[in-house]
């Protein structure tokens, strides 16, 4: 693996850029592996990377039915933040943000992580009080957060709708260390890093069956043959239930819903921050990509679906939100929109846990928030697989938490998956 550096750029410039090596191999699957991760998305690739780097496991395969990073890794709005308040989530997402802060150096790959501030608009004294509680909790637990009054917000982001808004803006809750990153680069960086440790990333390899023996998984049937495994990790959020049932394990506290995201035609620099608008049933978040496109999204499509295509009423909802909060976007043309399918869980929080099968581990239930979580998700999932016990930080991210009366419900929305957006 070529280590990327200014020197490497210079040297390859002298030889006409012909000597760069592949970023990762395209290996044939071996007969068996110590660990098989199903799903080469951000979570699966990060898991393989940290299994190799932190725990010295080398004989790993990551199986992917399509191409790596082609699922939800490429279908999100790339927002990274840690403004979670519930015990467990708080430590987990803060750790994730800390991993993001050093990710480009760690991977020797520029993931274009940009700490451009996450600005949640506030529209009522009650919302400000709730934000004060949440952001004070963050400050007391090793993170950053602050409240902006209206003059501060106007100075930072002058072109929001301060004049005629249906819900007047009174300020904002801000996490300055939050921001966004380049989604493909994260997938590629983790893939290249894992491959550098000898991990086999096997694309176009769909798992079609699970063979069980004595309460364990002995092998996986795939579109590229049978592959044996000592340990198996599922990291296929969106399709977790399908693999779960393939393994004969029945039902899960998960429903699959789809979420759309949008990008406009490229504009000159307009918005330096990630801005979030949520009041009275509206839900909207927007940032500007480095190419200039306005990247934004809103609510779920509201009904269960595995189809990776969005419906039109949500396009209208989101467009209305966009123009209500940034009227200057009224004449901007939409370039494209896409939809990802996601595991919506019963309390809006994820699962990184052991399963009823001795050597099967589950990573799923990421709801809206999988992108920002991916470094810590891989970190703790790798730790779980390597040591066969959950780290205290993820001890409540198991499937049995509802039986214990533990709901990690940041929104207080109750056990209805579609409400946890």
């Amino acid at each position: 693996m070529t280590r990327y550096s200014a020197w490497a750029v210079f040297k390859n410039g002298l030889s006409g850029q012909k000597d760069w090596t592949r970023q990762w191999r395209d290996p044939e699957p071996k007969k068996s592996y110590d660990v098989i991760i199903v799903g080469a998305g951000l979570h699966g690739l990060a898991t393989a990377y940290y299994l190799a780097k932190n725990h010295g496991v080398r004989n790993i395969a990551v199986l992917e039915k399509g191409w790596l990073g082609g699922g939800n890794a490429g279908r999100n709005t790339t927002i990274v933040r840690s403004n979670y308040m519930m015990p467990g989530n708080r430590q987990f997402y803060e750790h994730s943000l800390q991993l993001w802060e050093n990710l480009s150096h760690d991977l020797n790959y520029n993931v274009m992580f940009s700490q451009r501030h996450h600005v949640s608009l506030l529209h009522s004294p009650a919302a400000r009080d709730a934000a004060a509680r949440r952001y004070n909790t963050m400050r007391l637990t090793g993170s950053d957060g602050e409240l902006w009054d209206l003059p501060t917000l106007k100075a930072e982001i002058p072109h929001l709708n301060y004049e005629n808004a249906r819900f007047p803006i009174i300020g904002a809750a801000v996490q300055k260390r939050a921001g966004n990153a380049r989604h493909d680069a994260v997938a590629w960086g983790y893939a290249r890093g894992a491959d550098g440790f000898g991990v086999d990333i096997i694309q176009n390899c769909e798992v079609t069956g699970v063979t069980r023996e004595n309460g364990k998984i002995s092998s996986l049937q795939t579109s590229r043959g049978v592959i044996g495994a000592n340990k198996v990790g599922f990291a296929v959020a969106g399709n977790t239930s399908r693999l779960w049932q393939m393994a004969g394990l029945g039902r899960l506290p998960i429903e699959t819903h789809k979420l759309q995201a949008f990008v406009s035609e490229p504009l000159k620099p307009l918005l330096d921050h990630v801005v979030v608008f949520g009041v009275g049933g509206a839900h909207f978040y927007i940032s500007q990509s480095d190419k200039g496109g306005m990247v934004f999204g809103g609510d779920l499509d509201w009904y269960k679906s595995y189809a990776q295509r969005g419906n039109l009423p949500i396009v209208q909802d989101v467009a209305e939100c966009a123009t209500s909060i940034m009227p200057c976007l009224g004449r901007v043309r939409l370039l494209r929109h896409w939809s990802g399918v996601m595991d919506m869980s019963m309390d809006g929080s994820a699962f990184i846990c052991k399963t009823p099968l001795e050597n099967l581990y589950l990573n799923g239930g990421w709801n809206y928030g999988g992108f920002k979580a991916s470094p810590a998700s891989g970190w703790y999932f790798a730790d779980l697989i390597a040591n066969d016990r959950p780290d205290p930080v993820i001890s409540n991210l198991d499937l049995d938490r509802f039986r214990r009366g533990v709901c990690i419900d940041e929104r207080g929305a109750g056990p209805d998956p579609k409400l946890h957006g």
Binding site: Q245, K304, F402
Partner: protein
């Protein structure tokens, strides 16, 4: 846009409806063991394919419906009233009478 053929109002855009969820869930008796309630509240089959689900015609007749819909293709196979009483009313009304 999904079009749902409401038995009371005729074919309407899905944006007139509120989504309920998996219609196969049956809540146990109030004094049932906690485990039964856990399973009914929290566990889902999460079918990829044809599933029965409840929709509420909230901006129409306000009736709850059971819709058989494919969660992959969004094709709708059948729509019927969710409650037996409503189905009986519909069965007794004259053909074409949607009042």
């Amino acid at each position: 846009m999904i079009r749902i053929n409401c038995p009371f109002c005729g074919e309407r855009d899905h944006s007139e409806f509120g989504y309920g969820g998996d219609a196969s869930i049956e809540y146990p008796p109030l004094d049932a063991p906690m485990e039964d309630w856990h399973d009914a509240i929290y566990l889902r089959e999460n079918i990829r394919g044809m599933q029965a689900e409840t929709w509420h015609h909230v901006n129409g007749c306000r009736m709850w419906l059971v819709v058989e819909r494919d969660t992959m293709t969004h094709e709708i196979k059948s729509v019927r009233p969710a409650h037996a009483g409503n189905a009986a009313v519909l069965a007794n009304s004259a053909p074409g009478d949607k009042s």
